[in-house]
């Protein structure tokens, strides 16, 4: 009798635990949807007033007059992230090839932990570094060669800081992709008489191209949403930048900088939440696409 009761107790416990865990899992999956909906709900007021297109292409940002044009901020974001990718892509690609194809194990043992440390440094510390090193370097050393005057708080400063920040992500995904390539491919190429470099160029890089593209999109979306570090070095002037020495005002910085006054001006909070929604949707899409590509690659190569 007791034994039956004990077994029943075990069964019930199992059932309860199992279902509560399933419940949590399903809830957690709706999480992205909840974020999307609540941000959308908050940005409805401004979308009712103006069309999305006129908001995105509007050039003037005067919250007090009710003018909310996102164009300068979108351009600011594109400038900063685009240049950041331009700087860090060649660095990461070269270094990832070196580390996975050439480097001796002891070099990996030194470099990998450092990349980890780089990944762990908080954004605000990158910002501090930007203010201490990058901004003065640009304003006193670099800019005078090209333009008459730059404070140093510029697109370029933001891009350099961002470039360093996305290196760990990009390099580790790159190396993962190279390592996932079946070794047989390389051996086949080498046994046909190709040199190491020819193999890399014609086999490794070509074969891993989709993965590399996915990794770049991943890094791009990371750069897109980075806030504090960029905010600290970009200058934050709401105009479309004309050169890399002009200040820029990326979207995330706009949100972070104005949270204080947004409740006191009508529509302001709605406009800021709309920009958060934009960031969310774009980054969600970018991430989903690149993750799906990466998963497919993993599967194909595992065969």
């Amino acid at each position: 009798m007791n034994k039956i009761r004990y077994n029943n107790y075990r069964k019930i416990k199992e059932l309860v635990l199992r279902n509560s865990m399933l419940f949590l899992t399903v809830i957690s999956l709706s999480f992205a949807v909840i974020i999307g909906i609540s941000l959308y709900y908050k940005s409805v007021p401004i979308l009712d007033q103006q069309s999305l297109w006129s908001l995105l292409s509007g050039e003037s940002w005067r919250p007090l007059k009710g003018e909310f044009g996102f164009y300068p901020f979108i351009m600011g974001t594109l400038w900063v992230t685009g240049i950041a990718i331009l700087i860090s892509l060649p660095l990461c690609l070269l270094s990832a090839i070196y580390l996975s194809e050439y480097a001796a194990p002891y070099i990996k043992k030194i470099v990998f932990p450092m990349v980890d440390v780089l990944a762990g440094i908080p954004p605000v510390v990158y910002g501090v570094w930007g203010i201490l090193v990058v901004v003065p370097f640009i304003s006193t050393t670099l800019a005078p060669h090209f333009v008459e005057f730059s404070t140093g708080y510029s697109v370029l400063a933001g891009a350099i800081v961002l470039a360093i920040m996305i290196i760990p992500l990009m390099i580790s995904v790159f190396i993962e992709i190279f390592d996932a390539l079946p070794g047989g491919l390389r051996e086949a190429s080498l046994s046909l008489g190709a040199t190491n470099w020819q193999t890399i160029k014609k086999v490794v890089l070509r074969k891993s191209f989709p993965g590399l593209a996915a990794a770049v999109i991943l890094a791009l979306s990371r750069a897109f949403g980075e806030t504090i570090a960029v905010l600290m070095v970009c200058g934050n002037v709401s105009e479309v930048p004309n050169s890399v020495f002009d200040p820029a005002y990326p979207l995330p910085a706009l949100i972070a900088n104005n949270y204080g006054e947004m409740m006191s001006i009508p529509m302001y909070d709605s406009a800021l939440m709309l920009s958060a929604l934009l960031l969310f949707v774009i980054i969600l899409a970018f991430n989903a696409i690149s993750r799906l590509v990466l998963i497919r690659i993993e599967k194909n190569f595992a065969l």
């Binding site: 199992r18 899992t25 990461c92 270094s95 070196y98 780089l118 908080p122 501090v128 570094w129």
Partner: protein, 276 residues
């Protein structure tokens, strides 16, 4: 020839990456060290702190610790059941498990400013003001994807035979949770260390939600100061003494993060030793 040129370029690229890490640390230490003093880590801001008078950063240090401890506790109580469910109950190729993994990978990429904005709308909706509680909640959103993805990595590697053995002896699935947790404990610790690092250093998520204060909060509904925000706010001050404190705070934060990353390395190495 071409190979040699490219190899040199590759080595140069690797050097640049390594050197930039050193540059960052050297710059922060060089500027932060002269500004450090015992007062910084042992005192809360006194009167006139923001015009350069006495006081320290204890409020921000303790505040950051509160936020991180709270959100790790909250985060673990969500992520452990989820990870265990997709690994214990679902078959290996289950759609639900794969979809869960994918969705947390994607959530991992969502920037903290979006979580901050979301936390803010949630706060307004619930009628809360910026407080320790709201900060903990937002940072929890931020770190749950990291916790889940990195704990999942280790739970996945637990040999299936171990589970099968326990199940064939008549254990229910929920009864093998405990031994599995014991098996992956070092991995969980590594995951915690990782997320502490992310949580403690993030400014954009707490900017909206945690507020800022000069005192140490005594309840969940009070605002709380955090280290990243201490850096961010004080750096924008025109007074040099106040800026100095921002650099001291940056040094403290960097130090914490470096120690965490070393500790994480140590534990994951210990873990991989156990595994073999």
């Amino acid at each position: 020839m071409e190979e040699k040129i490219f190899k040199a370029l590759m080595m140069a690229a690797t050097m640049i990456i390594v050197v930039s890490l050193f540059m960052i640390i050297v710059a922060v230490v060089k500027r932060g060290l002269p500004a450090m003093s015992w007062d910084m880590v042992s005192k809360i801001p006194g009167g006139g702190f923001y015009i350069g008078k006495e006081g320290g950063l204890l409020n921000a240090i303790i505040g950051s610790l509160y936020i991180v401890i709270g959100s790790i506790t909250l985060g673990l109580s969500f992520s452990l059941p989820i990870v265990l469910y997709i690994n214990l109950y679902l078959p290996e190729k289950s759609r639900l498990a794969q979809f869960t993994r994918l969705s947390f990978d994607v959530l991992f990429g969502i920037p903290s400013i979006v979580y901050g904005a979301f936390g803010f709308t949630l706060m307004v909706y619930l009628g809360l003001r910026s407080s320790l509680f709201a900060g903990i909640l937002t940072v929890t959103f931020l770190i749950v994807p990291i916790l889940i993805r990195s704990i999942d990595e280790v739970v996945r590697r637990v040999p299936k035979e171990m589970m099968d053995a326990a199940l064939s002896l008549g254990a229910t699935r929920s009864e093998i949770i405990k031994p599995i947790l014991r098996q992956v404990a070092p991995g969980i610790i590594t995951a915690i260390i990782l997320s502490v690092g992310r949580g403690i250093g993030d400014a954009a998520s707490v900017l909206f939600t945690a507020g800022y204060t000069d005192s140490i909060p005594t309840s969940l509904s009070q605002p709380v100061a955090t280290l990243p925000l201490a850096i961010f706010f004080q750096l924008s001050s025109p007074i040099v003494e106040v800026q100095d404190r921002a650099y001291a705070a940056a040094l403290i934060l960097t130090f914490i993060v470096l120690v965490l990353s070393l500790a994480g390395r140590y534990y994951s190495r210990k873990f991989s030793k156990n595994k073999i």
